[in-house]
Symmetry: C2
Subunit: 436 residues, 2 copies
């Protein structure tokens, strides 16, 4: 894996991978800006004011710089705190961009880095994160939050690739990154969940810097007898590390969310939104919202009575209720007030969810029943997946909706233009300047 | 656990726990000084020169200060890089002091902290680390390096206790610390192994600082359905978290190593050293060194042909060879030159090791055979264990041997005097000043 990735050149990326890199960067930056003033970020920044980071890496939208290990911690958490960031659903459920891009933006502030170099490193980190996840197939079921664990690995490879580490050094970067991997699903619905993304980014930066200095590690950190694939997963499938690498690049199948919650609940939201126009009443008169979904939806988002906005993102019940009541499932629909709103609580208790293993993970069926109506819908592929992706226009609209309230219309459009022309950019710091 | 530890006072510690805290601090500081100029530390410091830590926390013996997350990273790795630091062998094999004390020294540099406060936090972190390990009994067999994983938890509780976090905040500190826990045994024999200790220290500091700012986590991060004890271990025994806490405190059974390698190989070294005086020849004429040891010795230190000093610490073969050839197993015996010395290589190939599950982990039998002699020895409890501890005098001699070459005789004796009178100390920064 490290041999292939260390020798990969930007010219090796097909146009679709480059396009997805641009889309990934734009979408992630919007999520970062939207999350930049979340209470979890305020707490993190207060803590980091005490750790003494010299101002060398920009914290986005907070008019502040921190150290090279601290800025990625913050930017990575910003990107993931609203659970609005991209998800790769090809075998693993990984929010790759928060760890990878938070690491890369910090590394790209030290020296001039071209847009092409940046996108290549992004694609390389993406590849490593998803492939190591596939090599450890029981990893998610084991209780790990992949954005923390695989995120460290993805960020380490990305940061290492950005500084052009050769095969052996990149192997060490992988070893140092993997040995720092952590993140418990037990912390879902708390501020720790998004901390995992930031921590992964910082772990990746440290791994690359250490490997650059000759710091060594096992050269079989994934596939070894006590390596990552064996101890983070009951079974291992290490051939996945390199099989058909580049055909296609995995970043090509990345997905971007229209809704501010886990991708697994998107199909159910799509279905409720589709039915909403057909039901001639408000939530009070609804007898039942019946959902058939893949079992993973309940195991990840089965919280019945969320008490906070963060918890409500892990509630398919809450998601269906707000989708019906408000016709939306954006950032606002997952705030603390709505999690505790009596009308929404009454409605979410009318949501029945049936796990059906014959459905795909991104498929859902829904029925809404009132005293005189029963309407049904079927969503074969959730919006936001590679099979039903957001269009470029929709993605730009999502970015602007996320970014404009934070940095204003002019700067937001500057970012769009910059990212659209990323292949011609010679120094990423021009973009970072706009995101201060 | 967090309720008990948050309300514990220094007066609750029995004299033996206080004594062991003092011994632990002295021994650890010696290991730190001895490890302070290891090539792994040089690499780490070169990397951290780029991360921009403001000079607020002292890096020991390197005439340098770094940020509050970076200094513990270095000091923690210094303490563990020679594998000469303390080991608690009561159910788990944990080098508690490197993560815990590296975190505490950094936290104690911000505001005046008394020696009593410091020792109480040390004992609390120690308790948490070992107890969580006992709650996850298959954790070590699963392939984790406990000093990284349990070390994060121990450091988080210690740092949180030092800043007097109350029950709920300390629970969050535990949650943030556990969700960062990492460290793969796959990285044994590399620079990553000791990085785990430093990383754990830094993780613990971050956890405490975040919890202080109201950053939340699961309140069942160890015992929850997807908590640490379930996912880092095939079986869980969560009653171990609090059973008989304080009767005695677990720091009372800490062990200190006379040899600069894993505690599991100490019994074998004791046995070879005991036989050495009875054999009237050099290694060339030895036909065989036969060792009977607990199976764990081979699974942890079974490296037959170590290529580096760090790898040789995980070779019972090398350990027996240097013990016979040089009558010692100190820092010098585990350098790169000896790992590649032809005479020692020839001798280590004559070492036969038989795993015998009827022996205790700290027990060994040895026989040395020459053409005209066969001598046998039995070591019931390895030196350095709680059952066969180093005396205060031996521990002070070890400290001086470690410290004097680095900070000189006068300052080393100042440290001894300071630690001996730790209960009366009102500000730990006076000690830190001596250790610059």
């Amino acid at each position: 894996l490290c041999g292939i990735l260390s020798s990969a050149r930007f010219e090796d990326l097909p146009p679709r991978a480059v396009r997805e890199a641009r889309r990934g960067i734009l979408d992630w930056l919007g999520c970062v800006l939207a999350g930049s003033h979340h209470p979890a970020i305020d707490g993190l920044l207060r803590a980091l004011q005490q750790t003494g980071g010299a101002p060398i890496a920009t914290v986005f939208a907070r008019d502040c710089k921190l150290g090279l290990l601290e800025a990625p911690l913050v930017n990575g958490q910003m990107g993931h705190v609203l659970d609005f960031d991209d998800t790769h659903a090809g075998g693993v459920l990984l929010h790759t961009s928060s760890p990878v891009l938070a690491a890369l933006f910090a590394m790209a502030e030290r020296v001039p880095v071209s847009g092409a170099q940046f996108m290549l490193a992004y694609a390389a980190g993406f590849e490593a994160g998803v492939r190591v996840g596939r090599a450890a197939p029981d990893h998610h079921a084991g209780g790990w939050h992949l954005t923390g664990t695989l995120g460290s690995i993805a960020a380490g490879i990305a940061a290492g690739k950005l500084i052009s580490l050769k095969k052996q050094s990149l192997t060490y970067a992988l070893g140092v990154a993997a040995t720092q991997a952590g993140g418990l699903q037990q912390n879902r619905g708390t501020m720790c969940k998004s901390l995992h993304a930031g921590k992964a980014a910082a772990n990746g930066v440290l791994a690359a810097l250490l490997a650059e200095q000759g710091f060594d590690s096992s050269t079989e950190v994934i596939e070894g007898a006590k390596g990552f694939a064996r101890i983070y997963s009951r079974t291992a499938d290490v051939e996945q590390l390199t099989r058909d690498l580049g055909e296609p690049w995995l970043i090509e199948s990345n997905g971007h969310k229209p809704y501010a919650c886990g991708l697994v609940v998107h199909a159910a939201i799509d279905a409720v939104l589709a039915l909403r126009g057909k039901i001639n009443t408000t939530g009070d008169a609804v007898d039942e919202i019946l959902l058939h979904v893949h079992p993973l939806v309940l195991s990840i988002t089965g919280v019945k009575e969320p008490a906070t906005g963060l918890q409500s993102k892990f509630s398919v019940y809450h998601s269906a209720a707000v989708a019906f009541a408000e016709g939306a499932a954006g950032i606002a629909q997952y705030d603390d007030a709505r999690a505790n709103d009596p009308g929404l609580i009454a409605l979410r208790r009318k949501v029945k969810v049936i796990a059906d293993a014959s459905l795909r993970e991104d498929e859902a069926r829904a029925a809404i029943v009132t005293s005189d109506q029963r309407e049904v819908a079927h969503v074969p592929h959730a919006s936001g997946t590679a099979a039903n992706p957001m269009s470029d226009d929709a993605l730009e609209a999502k970015f602007l909706a996320n970014a404009v309230p934070v940095i204003g219309d002019a700067r937001a459009r500057q970012v769009c233009a910059f990212v659209n022309g990323l292949e011609q950019v010679s120094d990423m710091r021009a973009l970072i300047d706009v995101l201060r």
